[in-house]
């Protein structure tokens, strides 16, 4: 169950297990079904209602330890993703790490190489930020001829969390970075010791050594007990299970920044260190696979984000791109965070095409797929941020628009 979508039997078992730990507030439900029967008692750690079915989707794989699971964006509300539904991308499985034994080693071009326990890291001044995290390969399938049929499969490698941790700059000052240093090589404690090269400027600007996610310790799948968070940068640079930071005078050309996560252009050259995730948005309701039950007024909604700052504006078309109207942006509208937009829209039973486009505070406008392909071709795999069109059919069914 760790990687696959739970089957019906597992979901039923989950429901049964949940029985013992339902929250007091959920008594109301039980009372509705049988007013004479007592509900469940209090419990130490909450579970969601057994009626809720939103789950991550995982692609089948012969090596399930490397792969990804996708957030059910169509089921999301607000701007945070429950930690349990945060997308995953691992290269060698999720390690089990005892935080009492975990250490972070800071070494290389520093005056004072350091080994720190988690307790010592947690003693340092911390800060908390709500941030979007997006895999560099999110929507990568959209480069191809066949685009994704629903929002989870095509855009689900993105999630929003509140992260708490220590500014990396603070820890680097403790270690005393030498003048020759210009890069930080970050390594995880997973089986494959995932490694990435991070420019020192980013580390000094806003990288976080995070241990908290959404008000508790982060989940093992998200890097427990320690994760490097690089706000706005492709997920893979946010090294999980962080156990080493090595200061160097050059990038190390890791496999995951050369062979992978680099963008091959039509001229045969590949762009490397394409770290920032550019502005992007997608309508989550109504979206592919859903059905509008009747004609009438609906709240069309979706998510927008930019790795370069705040979302300034989101425009929506409900007539195939003939006109675009400004959607309402729901507060809070935070920099480098999921931002929810919405628009009251009347479905009148006419077949139509809907889409959203985001504009961030740098003035950058989310491009069409055609505009992206005109510049980058179709072989770059990563960093796709094109406009996603959905077809609302006359009978209310919502489907993907090819190409």
């Amino acid at each position: 169950m760790k990687h696959g979508r739970p089957n019906r039997r597992q979901l039923l078992q989950m429901g049964a297990a949940v029985g013992g730990s339902l929250l007091a507030g959920q008594k109301a439900l039980a009372l509705e079904t049988d007013p004479r029967k007592l509900g469940q008692p209090l419990g130490p750690y909450g579970e969601r209602s057994s009626f809720e079915k939103a789950v991550r989707w995982t692609r089948e794989s012969k090596t399930p330890e490397t792969g990804s699971s996708f957030t059910p964006l169509h089921d999301s509300v607000g701007i945070l993703t429950p930690s349990s539904l945060h997308y995953e991308r691992h290269h060698s499985g999720i390690p089990t790490i005892d935080p009492a034994k975990h250490r972070l080693v800071v070494h290389g071009l520093v005056d004072r190489p350091l080994s720190l326990s988690m307790a010592e890291i947690r003693r340092l001044p911390s800060l908390t930020r709500i941030l979007v995290l997006e895999c560099g390969g999110n929507s990568g399938g959209e480069w191809g001829a066949t685009t994704g049929t629903d929002v989870q499969r095509s855009y689900g490698l993105v999630s929003g969390s509140e992260w708490t941790g220590v500014p990396l700059s603070l820890l680097l000052a403790e270690a005393g970075v030498q003048p020759r240093a210009s890069w930080v090589i970050a390594e995880g404690a997973d089986a494959c010791r995932m490694m990435r090269s991070i420019p020192l400027a980013k580390a000094m600007e806003n990288s976080l050594l995070a241990y908290g996610q959404n008000g508790e310790a982060m989940r093992p799948a998200q890097g427990y007990p320690l994760r490097l968070i690089n706000p706005g940068w492709e997920g893979n640079t946010n090294v999980k299970w962080l156990h080493s930071l090595k200061l160097t005078d050059q990038p190390y050309m890791a496999r995951d920044e050369t062979s992978k996560y680099s963008d091959l252009m039509p001229d045969g050259k590949a762009r490397i260190f394409t770290y920032a995730m550019e502005a992007k948005s997608v309508i989550t309701f109504p979206s592919g696979g859903q059905t509008l039950p009747t004609r009438g007024l609906y709240e069309l909604t979706g998510l927008a984000w930019s790795g370069r700052g705040r979302i300034e504006r989101v425009e929506v078309t409900t007539n195939g791109g003939r006109t675009w109207v400004k959607a309402e942006l729901q507060e809070p509208r935070l920099p480098i965070a999921l931002t929810r937009f919405r628009l009251a829209w009347r479905f009148d039973g006419q077949d139509t095409i809907i889409a959203s486009r985001a504009i961030d505070e740098t003035g950058y406008v989310q491009p069409t797929r055609a505009a992206l392909i005109a510049v980058r071709g179709t072989n770059s795999n990563y960093h796709y941020n094109g406009i996603k069109f959905w077809n609302v059919r006359a009978d209310g069914r919502v489907t993907n628009v090819e190409g």
Binding site: K62, T63, T66, S92, V105, H107, D111, R112, L114, S115, L116, I121, R123, L124, S169, A173, E174, A175, P179, R180, S182, E187, A191, C192, R193, M195, P199, A201, M204, S244, K246, T248, Q250, Y252, M253, A254, R255, T258, S259, L264, M265, D267, G268, K269, A270, R271, I272, F273, T274, A276, E278, T362, V365, P367, A371, L372, A374, V375, T378, N379
Partner: protein, 173 residues
């Protein structure tokens, strides 16, 4: 080098003057450093002692890698490791170690840290050199009598060494 570097040096200079404020941590022990995989720089920094031949690599590959990558690296559960040279500009590019990877040091670093997929960390440095030698030989990059060690490996010029460019985004309007 990459365009970020200039800003970085300035940032680094302001840092080094600082002294510890919180006094957390202690010097790492040799065991703690050993526990980390030695990261290998493109100039070869970090490469350990040891030697590996193509012949030794062929044997090792058959025993440890072929079941996932195919007997001659043509790919199976694991990625294809050979071929594709000359395809990067075509509609169907084939990105492999031979056609795409800019540095041979990356191959050493990656095999050492991550392969075999289900037993990473299994190989000793001479075995990693041998695996690298064999994969490079399969791609026609080194000769059958090639020997890989800390001196020869960083000197290998990969076919796509000059194939990478800095990030020009925002590039689409």
């Amino acid at each position: 080098m990459w365009k970020v570097s200039a800003i970085l040096l300035a940032a680094a200079a302001t840092l080094s003057a600082q002294s510890p404020r919180y006094g957390v941590g202690r010097p790492p022990t040799p065991e703690e450093i050993r526990e980390l995989r030695s990261a290998i720089a493109p100039d070869g920094t970090g490469l350990p002692e040891g030697t590996g031949t193509v012949a030794a690599g062929r044997e090792l590959f058959a025993a440890q890698c072929a079941r996932c990558h195919g007997p001659t690296g043509e790919g199976d559960v694991g990625a294809r490791l050979v071929g594709g040279q000359g395809t990067l500009r075509t509609p169907r590019p084939l990105k492999t170690v031979g056609s795409f990877w800019p540095y041979a040091t990356t191959l050493w670093d990656y095999i050492n840290r991550a392969m075999p997929f289900d037993r990473p960390g299994l190989l000793e440095p001479p075995e990693v050199y041998a695996a690298v030698a064999y994969v490079l030989n399969l791609n026609g990059i080194i000769e059958e009598n090639g020997v890989m060690d800390a001196t020869s490996l960083p000197k290998v010029k990969m076919p796509n060494r000059d194939g990478f460019v800095a990030d020009p985004r925002p590039d689409v309007r």
